[in-house]
Symmetry: C2
Subunit: 171 residues, 2 copies
């Protein structure tokens, strides 16, 4: 993860692809979104979508998994001589749109474009980076569009805690 | 699920409570949000939060589970003489804010308030209902705030499919 100071507005990050199998769609849905069009092929065939579709929350959970994989595995600190910044928690998201259904077997490709960055008003060691996250299916159709905000460590960071309150102060 | 026509702006739905155990926090995180403060007590203690916290996406997944449980188990059609509407898919969410951390053992109580309803411009059998979803912890602190939009069947519904494209037309 780059430090706040080194992040450029307009920078694009490709997070790779993920295929939504029928099994994974049903597993996520049974735990977190038990609606008929996410759980069972026959019931889904009779539903609005006409076929089994992934929960929208499944598509954002996979997005988060890919984001964490891209920025997460490196512990903060010096790695091979390179300083790595901590990715902080997210205070929230805006304009989340599930534009098209994601069917069993569909492969989504996720990317993010940095749209804004600003110093935290309340935490001098951190900045807030806003990014537009998009996912497209194999036909090139956009299925997911959301703008997220993340706290990212500054180079000047003293690694002070964020405290438990007020994640939302900077939005 | 009530039909679109019978839903009142200002109506409040209580979805009940959910306790986030350390085990469930880690399980969700290992699948969908593998960041240090969601995965391991010791690493979390050294992180910004100072203790293990639930992924924000876990708190919204549980919200969706409770929504589906409230509106989902009844198949559309006549149940005990009462007509039930179909809850359609959601075209998206706005203004998602994770306001405070959710720690292991925290119990969140979820509710929704209907903030707007309007007929679908493109689908005469459906309406769009907007609701503000909030979750509070046991101390009464709000931890999650998000406005969601859902397609809800109208009484006049002919149960036509939504087709695969253009979920977002009405937002």
């Amino acid at each position: 993860m780059k430090f706040f100071d080194d992040i450029t507005i307009g920078a694009v990050t490709e997070f790779g692809s993920h295929t939504f199998t029928a099994e994974a769609i049903k597993r996520f849905a049974s735990s977190y979104d038990p609606q008929r069009f996410h759980l069972d092929e026959a019931a889904a065939a009779a539903s609005l979508f006409g076929a089994l579709t992934a929960s929208g929350w499944h598509t954002t959970a996979v997005m988060m998994k890919l984001i964490a994989a891209a920025g997460g595995p490196l512990p903060a600190g010096a790695i091979g001589g390179t300083q790595c910044a901590s990715l902080g928690p997210s205070p929230g998201f805006d304009d989340l749109r599930w534009l098209r259904p994601v069917f069993a077997g569909d492969t989504l490709t996720y990317r993010a474009t940095v749209t804004d960055k600003r110093k935290s008003r309340s935490r001098p060691d951190w900045g807030v980076v806003s990014s537009r996250f998009e996912a497209h299916n194999a036909a090139g159709e956009k299925v997911l569009d959301v703008t997220g905000h993340d706290l990212v460590e500054r180079r000047t960071s003293g690694r002070a805690g964020l405290q438990s309150a007020g994640l939302n102060e900077d939005l």
